[in-house]
């Protein structure tokens, strides 16, 4: 019996609130966005490895090159780690009845992210002041391109961070159930996104500051080398 074989009376999913639906959609959307971004960064990194095997490549990580001193970049990384941890703590404290220190943590996350961006700019400035322009060597071009794209994505995240901050302060002035759900969601999405950007940055940092022999090894592993 065709008709009946194809028919079942499914129990309906337990009725959950509108915000559960909205929050599930937003999380799925963010995960998809992160998948697309991963694809982009992965392809950039693959291009980086392939291009690094051409003889004109002057790796920035050689002892006499600017990336031999990574102090500034380590400092920037620390700021991004602080941002990520504060968001994680904000995400946890917003669940507490009095919202704990969520406001302070959220502000700290924003400020340290902003600090990270400024720190990256300082390093860019350091590079250009020593004559390392994007056009002068492919290694420089990749450095500017990859750190720039990462920064752009963080700036996009800061827009979401502003939304979360506004929602939180509105919630503190006029608490509503709807406002709370939206604030929680905003902070949660920011947290996931920041963790993701931190991981991307760690990959970028590791790769950009690696030695040419590491590139050669990766290229050989991928079957790209000579």
């Amino acid at each position: 019996m065709l008709t009946q074989a194809r028919t079942t009376s499914l129990p309906f999913a337990a009725s959950s609130g509108y915000f559960d639906q909205r929050s599930a959609s937003a999380k799925t959307g963010l995960h998809l966005l992160m998948a697309a971004m991963s694809s982009m960064f992965f392809l950039f990194l693959l291009s980086y490895i392939l291009r690094s095997q051409v003889s004109d490549w002057e790796a920035l990580s050689e002892p006499w090159q600017p990336l031999a001193q990574t102090g500034q970049l380590w400092f920037n990384s620390a700021l991004l780690v602080v941002a990520s941890i504060s968001l994680e703590l904000a995400r946890r404290s917003i669940r507490q009845p009095d919202h704990g220190h969520s406001r302070e943590l959220l502000l700290l996350a924003g400020l340290s992210s902003f600090g990270f961006l400024v720190g990256q700019l300082v390093f860019w400035n350091f590079l250009t002041s020593r004559g390392f322009f994007a056009g002068s060597n492919p290694a420089n071009a990749f450095f500017f391109l990859l750190t720039g794209l990462h920064a752009l994505h963080l700036i996009g995240g800061l827009v979401a961070w502003i939304v979360a901050t506004v929602r939180l302060s509105r919630q503190r002035r006029q608490p509503t159930e709807e406002g709370l759900a939206l604030t929680k969601l905003s902070i949660e999405l920011c947290t996931t996104y920041w963790h993701f950007l931190l991981v991307v940055w760690m990959f970028l940092f590791a790769l950009l500051s690696s030695s040419p022999s590491t590139y050669a090894a990766i290229a050989k592993f991928c079957g790209l080398g000579d």
């Binding site: 008709t3 998809l32 056009g135």
Partner: protein, 582 residues
Amino acid sequence: MAYADDVENEELHEPTGFIWKYVWSQDHKVIAIQYSTTAILVGLVALVLSGMMRMQIGFPGSIDMDATAYYQAMTMHGMIMVIYLLTAIFLGGFGNYLIPLMVGARDMVFPFVNMLSYWFYLVSVLVLLASFFVPGGPTGAGWTLYPPQAITAGTPGSEWGIILMLVSLIIFIIAATMGGLNYVTTVLQARTHGMTMFRMPLTVWGIFVATILALLAFPALFVSGVMMLLDQTIGTSFFMPDMMQFGSQLDYSGGSPILFQHLFWFFGHPEVYIVALPAFGLVSDLISIHARRSIFGYRMMVWAIVSIGVLSFVVWAHHMYVSGMNPYFGFFFATTTLVIAVPTALKVYNWLLTLWRGNIHLTVPMLFSLAFIVTFLVGGLTGLFLGNVVVDIPLSDTYFVVAHFHMVMGVAPILVVFGSIYHWYPKITGRMLHDGIGKLHFWITFLGTYLIYFPMHYLGFLGMPRRYYAYEDYPFIPESAQSLNAFITVVAIVVGISQLLFLFNLAYSYFKGAPSGGNPWRATSLEWLTPETPPKHGNWGSSLPVVHRWAYDYGVPGAELDYVPQTTSAEEVPVHESDHDE
């Protein structure tokens, strides 16, 4: 799956006023029509460009077109057709219109982002068209935009045209990503009660998987576009090798043009399936509905779509056999290319088995669907030739390739676009398209495209190279080839002009078409069961539909009608006694 009851009680803020309703609209149906209209209009530009090229090839010198203009027309024709027409209309047009209606949602899950997606798309189209008006005109680098020639003097539009092309593509990718997030999330999160993944119509499956491909493959085009843009504007050498130009050394050094090809085709091959998978889905539904027969092997069809999607990421280098590669790579990519033919062939068999002993109604959508099967088959079979390295090398860059890809990813998907418009137009407008004009349009288009592309295979065997501005004075091309070229041109012009029939039909039927009612094709899927036709804002009136079955209960023995809508429960279906005895 929790599409909450609260969603039903949510107040529907129906927009008022022309601007909010039809221009800055967040309604998926309006956005779908905006996407489709823009895509069709820009597609007409590409159609005119192809007509001009054909005039030059068939009757050299008959129109005022020099080699530069020819290459520009060729490039813009290809890029517009693949990206700005087909991708946009399948995902932005059909995806937007059909996904929420078919899964029983009130709208896409992120309506604002959806609106932005369209406006970004429109901007990308305008930037692209603006390149006709910049110094040097649009790029003439060929739609694949291979460096170094794309940004080297001597190639048309190597200064401004290519910049606008790359910027336009980058904007398009942002638009496609915003749209894509919506389509996938809506399918995953906003299905109505009872709509399991395996009850979704194949249309939704096709668009769903194609969108995932788009989300993962478009970044490759983005990456290559950004890097080429930097090579062109600030003088980096990502893709540009050491080279001389007009006797002087350029500033570039060490870049890898092959890297661009890998990135481009890592996007380019999935792109074929970004166009083909929605067509597969749509045509499955058209065939099932118009043959009054449940789709053969529904789950097999779904898994075929998924496996084609996965495999499409590991075949890209079959576009690069003549670029030079390790023979083992050639072997690998030839093998994966042949493997992808398996799920594809499986789909063709299932369409045929759906038709087998079906009650075939030769309606206009069905005619287009049948035409799709044979066209796709021909295009697919020539793909097996080209997928093999040793056969590809002599045929590479000949008209055989032109014939192959026009059949398989030009004509075949466009036939589905037409069939689907004839099929869903009644839902969109509440009126039927004129049947007689539709049939005339079909026969001219179907027979015409065969007369255009079938002979091109022979031209390819004769060794006629593609991408040439003129074919005179080549001793290896016989004169008869020129007669064939003239013939193809005449047919192409006829087919091109006959598309006005379709446009006329769209306009005429909008005002004068016969009223269609809510479900003129007696179809089971949810979009035909909306309380109003065309569906109003929010789609479903006061309560969401509840789904009890798959979308393919056609020709059901004993049912009151010969079909059972997805919203009908088992208890509501009157069944003959004899059926119980089975």
